[in-house]
């Protein structure tokens, strides 16, 4: 795919994610949302890029995310109204109020729910991929990836040579504990030691696109460095100068991006407004 078109398509998805999360933040502050909420703003280009690549490959993968999963759901085409309802604790939510923010699922987009035990989606995704031989993506945080069972599952996935992509959304934090305090190794090296392709890259969409040639052919792992803008859970910020990929892409893409941003901001605002009025 042409680089500019890919960037724009990905930006459009990211824009839906970003403006959705902006509304989430607003409604957390207004106490319209009253559940533990894990905002993915800052990290949205990972899911958005993966979804754009999958669309281009005409593949509808099985998706196994973890608690910070709004961007995954939205990027892969999950019904936004149903997610709003879910966050508001309504029966009409995508998981009928059972999933909240952390455990959402959608049969329409092949997205399976998460049980709240960090990393369980690692081996579960491996098993689903093995049993179906269907392209599968597991999204993990950099801390969840440390779970022993994630590593056991990865080793087996490599041995069985299944069409699995493991994406580590590496925001460097486990709540507030930095990676360097927790470990002196990288997941991309772990993948390589399991004899699977492993890469350590940035969340620039083009970096992800570069590796799309190997997707779903053999198991691979992408450790994608990214930034979480808001708190682990809730609406606060740890810092005001966190690097923001969304702003960077907006600047890079210029007028086209500004137009997309404006249009989607309005669209998402209205969506929330309408649901809140119900």
């Amino acid at each position: 795919m042409n680089e500019k078109i890919f960037r724009l398509k990905t930006f459009e998805k990211a824009s839906y994610c970003r403006h959705f999360e902006e509304e989430v933040i607003k409604n957390l502050k207004l106490k319209n949302i009253n559940i533990p909420t894990y905002v993915s703003a800052g990290q949205e280009f990972i899911a958005a890029s993966m979804a754009t690549i999958c669309e281009d490959l005409k593949i509808k993968p099985l998706i196994f995310g973890q608690h910070r999963c709004h961007s995954i759901y939205i990027s892969f085409g999950g019904d936004k109204v149903k997610l709003i309802d879910e966050l508001l604790g309504r029966k009409t939510g995508c998981t009928k109020g059972m999933g909240g923010s952390a455990s959402i699922a959608s049969k329409e987009i092949n997205m399976f729910g998460h049980d709240g035990l960090m990393g369980s989606n690692g081996p579960i995704g491996v098993g689903a991929c093995f049993a179906t031989n269907h392209p599968t993506i597991v999204f993990l945080g950099d801390a969840a990836a440390e779970e022993d069972y994630v590593l056991g599952g990865l080793g087996w996935a490599s041995t069985k040579n299944i069409p699995l992509i493991t994406v580590v959304e590496d925001n460097n934090l486990s709540i507030l504990t930095e990676k360097k305090v927790r470990r002196n190794w990288e997941m991309s090296d772990v993948a390589k030691s399991f004899k699977m392709q492993g890469y350590n890259i940035d969340d620039d969409p083009i970096d992800l696109l570069k590796y799309s040639e190997i997707f779903f052919k053999k198991p691979c792992l992408l450790n994608v460095n990214t930034n979480r803008i808001f708190w682990h859970a809730g609406a606060g910020k740890d810092s005001d100068d966190t690097f923001d990929r969304y702003e960077e892409e907006k600047k890079r893409l210029g007028e086209d991006a500004l137009a997309i941003d404006k249009k989607i901001k309005e669209e998402i605002k209205n969506l929330w407004k309408k649901q809140l009025e119900k």
Partner: protein
Amino acid sequence: MEKTVREIIKETSRDHIKKNNSLIFGQCLSAVGWVGGTVPELTEKEGLIELSMADVANGGIVAGAGLSNRRPIYVIRYQGFNWFNASIILNYACKSKEIWNVPCPIFIRGIAMEGSIGPVAGSSQHSIYFKMPGIKIISPMTPNEYLIAYKDFMKNDDVMYVSEHRGSYSNTKELNDHLDDNLDLILFPISITRFEAQKAKIELEKEGYKIGIANILWIKPFLIKKEWEKAVIKSKFGGVVLDDDYTDGVASNLAYQLIKRTKKNFEVMGLKDRSAGFSKTTDNLPPSKEEIIKKCKEIIDKKGKL
């Protein structure tokens, strides 16, 4: 010729794979003996899947396979390994239907045995699963009971924990309840204790005690049969629940349910509250015929005298 439990398990597993394009997962399945002769001798291509030693991950892998609706069978060679294997099964597979409306049917074969095999390999561990929602637990000891378990699994879409015992694998006979209206005491045995309970009953009856037996096949859901309830209410001293697991779990809970229903006294017997070792003197075995007899006499004689 009558079939053994072992043959039934093996045949059922083979048919299950063939008819349903299913999978059998486990560790070292093709090792000497093919898990006591219960696993069909198939290749990985045919559906017999060797897992690595990553027990916690393995439970997750099987849960993931369950989502595909291929209805995998998961062989856990020693029930004690469930401490690692059960975590993702219980927290994901068992909750998936309720939370996300995505069933995750898995047939878990947890296998018990005992005698000089140390602190983790011995005995049944169905109590690990018992307290959690979304699971059925059954402990078949006869050929027909095994088929009941399998048919129920195929008719529904639940996670099923099948608490097997190697001591039953050569059994060909069905085990019937023995109940009537004027019993002293009724034994409610689970798993391998059902065989000792039968022997204890015969011995006790020789000495004039009137002992009934109500075989517990379904542990969860635990349904108290009408005829059990009636016989207990009419009995002199209530009953004893016998288990091959520690008593602070399934046994005590079922006894509680029976007490609530019948307002009669119930006692429990199971593993002693200590770890097992690797020798005859340090074993922790389920209640033997002799221990059951002693307990029954204690209850009947003590209360009979009052």
